[in-house]
């Protein structure tokens, strides 16, 4: 029945989207923290090193 299917999809979508956001936020926090934890002068971000033009 469409009613049940739509209700189910609605709940699943909401749960998955929220959970995905939670995971994204926490992982991003961990990644950033790890970078920052290497020491004040360490390679803070790999991206920064790559994007910097070498001359």
């Amino acid at each position: 029945m469409t009613h049940a299917a739509n209700v189910f999809s609605g709940y699943v979508l909401a749960a998955v989207a929220t959970a995905a956001y939670v995971v994204w936020v926490i992982r991003r926090g961990r990644t950033l923290g790890r970078h920052l934890g290497i020491g004040a002068r360490g390679p803070v971000s790999d991206v920064a090193d790559e994007s910097r033009p070498r001359d």
């Binding site: 209700v7 609605g10 909401a14 929220t18 926090g29 950033l32 923290g33 971000s45």
Partner: protein, 275 residues
């Protein structure tokens, strides 16, 4: 660099024994409460609460759809409030050398604004999706450009734009002030969305809860309490994620500062070596 002596996030997380970098005792408690509340909500909304006389089981979508937009409203109001604080604390003549936010409070409010807006966007998206699924089984269509639906999409797009604006590279002070101005403009749409069902003829029904004292209650007992409970659940979940997001924003600032320091150091070394 301007020193911002704030609690060391990592220390805080370790003290709480949290797996995440941004955890603390408060978020651990909130997290446990949030997950338990979601479990109870699923039971109440999908199992214990009755089917509707007209809509049948489709009414159960209300317990996700309506609390979602309430939490989104809350997020956007908080964004506007925090943005006003940012503008006030960075007004001309207050701190701000070389376009950097010197004021700790301003930085905090800027983070609050960013975290709250992101949650608002997430929950507005959930509102739109669940509303569309609900519309299909009740109205017979996924979408209609009526006033409520149109203004809600506009709300969603505006705050997506706000989040994009926050990401445009700029000096911290200019970026914070610019996004604060946009947040204060964007929030004007909020009452329009809410009252659209009263101001215009819409396919969408009028507000379900009459908050005026002594007003008629359109929802009977168990459904009413399930709706309120779901709203409380969504609020706890949003608070929990919001605090984490706020701290991640702090880490982002720190990373930016650190990379700036590093670039400056490199530049100094180059100069010393005579290039």
């Amino acid at each position: 660099m301007i020193e911002t002596p704030e609690p060391d996030l990592r220390e805080q997380a370790q003290r709480a024994g949290s797996l995440s970098m941004t955890g603390s005792v408060a978020t651990r408690v909130l997290g446990v409460v949030a997950i338990a509340a979601v479990g109870v909500m699923a039971l109440l909304a999908l199992w214990i609460s009755p089917a509707d006389a007209v809509q049948g089981d489709a009414v159960r979508l209300m317990y996700v759809h309506v609390p979602s937009i309430w939490v989104a409203y809350g997020g956007f109001v908080l964004t506007a409030f925090a943005s006003a604080r940012v503008l006030w604390r960075t007004r001309s003549g207050v701190g701000g050398t070389y376009g950097v936010i010197a004021d700790r409070q301003a930085r905090r409010w800027d983070r609050v604004a960013g975290a709250a807006a992101e949650l608002g966007v997430l929950f507005t998206a959930l509102t739109l999706v669940t509303g569309s699924l609900w519309g299909k089984v009740t109205w017979g269509t996924y979408w209609q450009w009526d006033a409520r639906l149109t203004t809600t999409v506009l709300l969603f797009v505006t705050y997506l734009g706000y989040l994009a604006l926050r990401r445009l590279p700029a000096e911290s002070r200019a970026r914070a002030r610019r996004s604060a101005v946009m947040a204060l403009i964007a929030v004007v749409n909020l009452p329009i969305v809410h009252y659209s069902v009263d101001w215009w003829r819409t396919l969408h029904q009028e507000a379900s809860l009459n908050l005026e004292p002594g007003g008629d209650r359109n929802i009977t007992g168990e459904m009413y309490w399930t709706l309120l409970y779901s709203w409380a659940t969504f609020t706890v979940v949003a608070l929990w994620i919001g605090i984490h997001r706020y701290r991640v924003l702090r880490l982002e600032e720190l990373a930016e500062e650190a990379s700036l320091e590093e670039l400056l150091a490199q530049r100094r070394d180059e100069q010393a070596a005579g290039r």
